[in-house]
Structure formats: structure tokens, C-alpha cells
């Protein structure tokens, strides 16, 4: 009897395994498209689609669980009565090739959407999902998951975790669905040898040593618990925030949303939930025009404090997973790493 927690999958068996898996569920994996972008894509034909495990998927899994725009209800007005009708349910989905940071982010989202109220549509999608991660042997240009404690390999949370050992994957199973899967498709796998474990650990050590950036995130979190951020830092950051909202939209742990009605005709429409960004002035402005936040000085204060101060205080962990997606895309260059640098540099001039 082989141990069902840890197994080896020869690379030749990957496609056959995925083919079996895709019979019972939608298979989503990173695919490099014709325009050179690597995106998580629902794969309908494994023979004509090449899964891209060499590049970081452009977006995280967030759009699959909290879509940019999601219909919460259709409404119909007739006379002065109206009726809300709820939209369709989720489908079974297996996500393959998910990076450690993105799964960590999903686990954080689970927390947000379960307390105090369970968000039914989020949970519907979540309970229909199985996540297969791929440990990172080589961090991408802007990654810093080492600093956020969310990679390069994971200890828990995954359905299955794949580690690339060259011609084979070292596969670990999480509880529940992942273990069931290994049990069901055990014949694609072989036993782990001592050699495999040695190589796996060596790769882990090497991965940790390859980060381009040294982000003092933990230091910043502790500092924020103890002291106020100098006002000049907030103002310096706000002056270069051009309100695109991009950082919040690409962030796998930014879950703030808006709920609005979109009329489709005179007497019908949809109520949609859509991504929102706390960096916008209108995010907090009240109907009468009063705004408790002064955007011109504090555009980024909520976002950074939420991630690094409040979440650190309540969960013991910052809600930044070091995926690096917000780095390099900010129009004014004032992403979270710039903030951390400004905050921590102060101490050792």
C-alpha cells in the first residue's frame, strides 16, 4: 500500500491525468494566448491548447471567485411592484497550475466571505472548486512571497501541490478532495523515493535564494502596530496616485466591491456587484456629499493600512501575498513596495 499523501507523477502522465480530471469538471489552467499574454483559461481541448507553466498568470484566481462584474439579481418592475430573481449557479472547476501566492490569497478571501455572513455566491463557487498548485522553483521578476510567508512552496490549503523535479512532479495532497483524487487516479502515480525528497528540499532552498527584491514587509507590519505613519509619507504617495484603481483590481486579496443597479430597459435591469477600489474618492463619499476621507492626502492610506496593519492585527498575517502584480503597473510608481521602502527606510537612514 502506497502513501496517498505524497506521490510522484511522471511528466508524461500529466496530460492523461488532466484529461481524466476534465471529464468531470471544467479545467482551468494558465494558457499563453495569441497575443502573448498568459491567462487562466478554461480548456476545452487539451490536445490543441498548450498549458504555460513558465510564466506568471497575468491575473490571479480572483476573477473566477469574485468576478469584475457579477449579476446578483435580475429585476423586473411592473407597475409599482417588482420582483428580484436570482441568477444561475456555479459549475465544478479544477484549477491547475495555481501559484502559491494565489492560493494563499484565495484562503484569505475565504475568511472575508465567511465572516460574519456567508456570501452564498462566493461559497457556491468555492465549494465547487479544487485547486492544484505548482510550487515556484524560480520566482518571477517582481515577486516577494518569501517576505509575505506565502511561498514559494505551501504547507497547506491546496487540493494538490505539484513541485517540478525536472522529468516528474512531486505531488502532495491536501485533505478531502485532493486526497480523493489521488486515490481515484492512483495508477498514474508512483511512490516517492528518498532521492525525490532530497531534490525537492534542495529546490525549495534554491528557490528561496533567488528573489530579486528584499521587501521589509514583516518589519513594516510590526512598525505599523506601534506607531503612526508620518503624514508626509501619505501625502507623498497620494500626490502620485492617479486614481486608476489598478492596484486594487489586480490584487488577489482586494475584495472591496460595489453594488449597483444597471437598467437594461425602462422596466428591467440587473443588480451587479463589481470590483471597487478604496483608493477612489467616491468610495466613501456619502449621499449628502460628506466624505470622511480626504483623497488628496490619504488616497492610499486605507489600502496599505488595511493590508499591513489591520489584517496583521486581526489575522497575525498581512493580506499581501507577495505576488508582485501591483508592482510596475502603478502609473505613479507608488505601489505597496514603495510604501514599505519609505516606511522602513526612515528608520535606518
Amino acid at each position: 500500500m502506497i502513501d496517498l499523501k505524497e506521490l510522484i507523477l511522471p511528466k508524461d502522465n500529466l496530460i492523461p491525468l488532466l484529461r481524466k480530471l476534465s471529464k468531470d469538471a471544467r479545467l482551468v489552467a494558465p494558457v499563453k494566448n495569441d497575443h502573448g499574454d498568459t491567462l487562466f483559461t478554461a480548456i476545452s481541448d487539451l490536445d490543441t491548447t498548450e498549458i504555460d507553466l513558465a510564466n506568471q498568470p497575468q491575473a490571479s484566481l480572483k476573477p473566477f471567485f469574485l468576478p469584475q462584474q457579477e449579476t446578483l439579481a435580475h429585476y423586473q418592475i411592473s407597475g409599482d411592484t417588482y420582483q428580484f430573481t436570482a441568477p444561475k449557479a456555479a459549475e465544478d472547476t479544477i484549477f491547475f497550475g495555481v501559484r502559491s501566492c494565489d492560493l494563499t490569497a484565495l484562503l484569505y478571501m475565504d475568511l472575508i466571505f465567511s465572516k460574519p455572513a456567508k456570501d452564498t455566491s462566493y461559497y457556491d463557487r468555492r465549494s465547487h472548486s479544487l485547486i492544484i498548485t505548482l510550487g515556484c522553483n524560480q520566482p518571477f521578476a517582481n515577486c516577494f512571497c518569501e517576505a509575505t510567508n506565502s511561498g514559494p512552496y505551501l504547507e497547506y490549503g491546496y487540493g494538490l501541490q505539484f513541485i517540478d523535479l525536472g522529468d516528474r512532479y512531486y505531488v502532495s495532497a491536501g485533505r478531502g478532495k485532493g486526497a480523493d483524487l489521488l486515490k481515484k487516479w492512483g495508477y498514474f502515480f508512483c511512490e516517492v523515493q528518498e532521492e525525490d525528497q532530497r531534490i525537492r528540499y534542495q529546490l525549495f532552498l534554491e528557490a528561496r535564494g533567488q528573489f530579486n527584491r528584499n521587501i521589509q514587509l514583516a518589519h513594516a507590519c510590526h512598525k505599523l502596530q506601534k506607531e503612526e505613519v508620518p503624514e508626509e509619507i501619505w501625502e507623498q504617495l497620494a500626490e502620485r496616485c492617479y486614481d486608476c484603481g489598478g492596484c486594487a483590481y489586480v490584487c488577489p486579496t482586494c475584495t472591496c466591491f460595489s453594488v449597483d443597479d444597471k437598467p437594461q430597459s425602462r422596466d428591467s435591469g440587473i443588480r451587479v456587484r463589481s470590483w471597487d477600489a478604496c483608493t477612489s474618492g467616491g468610495f466613501t463619499r456619502m449621499a449628502g456629499g460628506h466624505n470622511p476621507v480626504d483623497r488628496s492626502r490619504h488616497a492610499l492610506k486605507r489600502r496599505f493600512l488595511h493590508k499591513l496593519k489591520y489584517d496583521f492585527a486581526s489575522h497575525g498575517k498581512a493580506s499581501c501575498t507577495g505576488c508582485g502584480r501591483c508592482v510596475d503597473i502603478c502609473f505613479g510608481g507608488v505601489d505597496i513596495t514603495r510604501f514599505i521602502d519609505l516606511l522602513t527606510r526612515q528608520e535606518n537612514p
Binding site: 439579481a73 411592484t81 417588482y82 460574519p116 456567508k118 449597483d260 471597487d276 468610495f283 466613501t284 493600512l305
Partner: protein
């Protein structure tokens, strides 16, 4: 299917015009799939198709159920749409949400209510509830006083209710910022009315109104020796869900929709809050 976001339907039974800007909409739920109850200080997410939702606090007492009053000031697109509705029209409701006033602590205590403009709405729920309780039990509350500020005599809302309260022995004092030729009562800030008030150490104060008013009343009460744990206020924030998910009402590490909207001043003192700073 996201049941959490599907509102229940309610019908407008009656509309009471409070002033030019404020009307009270007396509602009754049509969809009664589960029992509905609430406590004074809690709010509802009110839906109008095409206009979306807004958080509005309940202004009637739970004792008036199945009728629910929402006193609404015309401020944005949604509230304007509600104001154009007539008796028999339908609204959507979700809730109740938020932390209520700790009414259970009020038994046997002096209560001082300080309100400005539409801010009387959530306090009205408490006052009516206390009056109902005192009808059942003489010790429910020992004395109720209300200080109420408005911009001008024509802006005074809830005049009918105030009349009834006076009949029931509540000490109501009014003030306006700008008087007209008929006004003989006090002119000036609501804090000035506090000058003539004496408070014992056991009194509880409840404040609701514009941020500037809340700030100055809290300062005055503290100066008068009121304990922070005995002063309560209710905060207004932009909200989209009402249940701690959307992030809009985030307030220095807390969420107004869950941890509030009712806060004691002792809680607020540990936070960075617009109503207390600047």
C-alpha cells in the same frame, strides 16, 4: 445564487411628511419567509430598482411591528426616487443590520437624547421603545429628555411625534440656527441647550446628527463630567452590503455596519474617527 443580496418586498402603508426634505415611510413586509425583528439603532438596506440600495436606520420602535418606519431625507438619486413614491408602492428591504443601542442597560437610568436634523430618526426608535417599556413597567426608564436642533423653524421634523412625546411627559427642548418672526424659543447651537441641563453620573446620553454637532456635543458632555461609557452615538457611512463584506464603511480597523453604527464614545476614543477629529 446569492440569497444574501436578494431583498424582501415591503409595501408603503402610509407616508408622513415631516418637513420639506424629510418624510416618514411606514412599511410592512410582503415577503414574510422568515420572522422579522430588530432593535433600536439598527438599519436596513433599502432597494429601489434602477437606483440601487442605501443604508437607512429604522425610526420606529420594534414594538410597532409589523409596521416599520423609515424617515428619509432627500439627498441622492435613491432617496429622491423614494420621495416620489406613493402609498401602496413597493420597496425592497434587507436586514436588519448593525449593532443596536444597548437598550437593556437603560432600565432605571436618566436618558438624554441630543439630535440634529434627520439625526432624530434612529433616536426616535429608542425613545418610542422606552416609552412603550415604561407603559409596561414604571421603572423602565426614570426620565427622558430630548434636545433637538434644526436649521430653521420650518426645518423642524417630527413635529407630530414631538407633540405626543410632550404629552407623555418627555422634556423636549428645541433650538434653531435661524429664527423666523414667529419663533420664540431658543436660537443657537444645540450645545447651548446643554447649559441648562444637569446630569447625574448615572445618566446615559445618546447623540445623533451631523459630524460637527456630534463632536461638539461629546466635548460638552465630557466637560460636564459624563463618563465615556455612558455616551452613545450612531455614525453614518457609505455602505454597499450591510454585512461586513463590501469594505466601504471601513473605519480604522472596524466596520461601521458590524461594529456600529452605534458606538460608545469610549470605543470611538480608541479610533481615528472623522466625527471626533479635525
Amino acid at each position: 445564487m446569492n440569497k444574501t443580496f436578494i431583498p424582501a418586498r415591503a409595501i408603503i402603508r402610509e407616508i408622513i411628511r415631516e418637513n420639506d426634505q424629510i418624510s416618514t415611510f411606514r412599511l410592512e413586509l410582503i415577503d414574510k419567509t422568515k420572522p422579522f425583528s430588530f432593535l433600536p439603532g439598527q438599519f436596513l438596506m433599502v432597494s429601489v430598482p434602477h437606483c440601487g440600495e442605501a443604508a437607512i436606520s429604522i425610526s420606529s420602535s420594534p414594538d410597532a411591528l409589523p409596521l416599520i418606519d423609515l424617515s428619509i431625507r432627500r439627498a441622492g438619486e435613491l432617496t429622491t426616487a423614494i420621495h416620489s413614491m406613493e402609498k401602496g408602492a413597493r420597496l425592497g428591504l434587507r436586514g436588519p443590520f448593525g449593532k443596536a443601542f444597548p437598550v437593556e442597560k437603560f432600565s432605571g437610568r436618566d436618558l438624554l437624547f441630543v439630535a440634529g436634523g434627520i439625526g432624530l430618526a434612529p433616536l426616535k426608535s429608542v425613545i418610542d421603545h422606552c416609552l412603550f417599556q415604561s407603559g409596561l413597567d414604571d421603572d423602565a426608564v426614570s426620565g427622558i429628555r430630548l434636545l433637538y436642533g434644526s436649521r430653521s423653524p420650518s426645518d423642524i421634523a417630527f413635529t407630530g411625534t414631538i407633540g405626543l412625546w410632550r404629552e407623555q411627559g418627555i422634556d423636549v427642548r428645541l433650538t434653531v440656527d435661524e429664527k423666523d418672526e414667529h419663533w420664540t424659543d431658543h436660537v443657537g447651537l444645540v450645545t447651548e441647550l446643554l447649559e441648562d441641563i444637569t446630569l447625574d453620573s448615572n445618566s446615559i446620553s445618546l447623540i445623533c446628527g451631523p459630524p460637527v454637532m456630534i463632536r461638539s456635543v461629546i466635548a460638552k458632555l465630557t466637560e460636564m463630567g459624563c463618563d465615556d461609557t455612558n455616551i452613545f452615538t450612531t455614525l453614518e457611512r457609505h455602505m454597499k452590503c450591510g454585512m461586513g463584506l463590501c469594505g466601504h464603511c471601513h473605519l480604522d480597523g472596524r466596520l461601521v455596519c458590524l461594529d456600529g453604527p452605534v458606538f460608545s464614545v469610549s470605543e470611538l476614543n480608541t479610533m481615528d474617527v472623522m466625527e471626533l477629529s479635525r
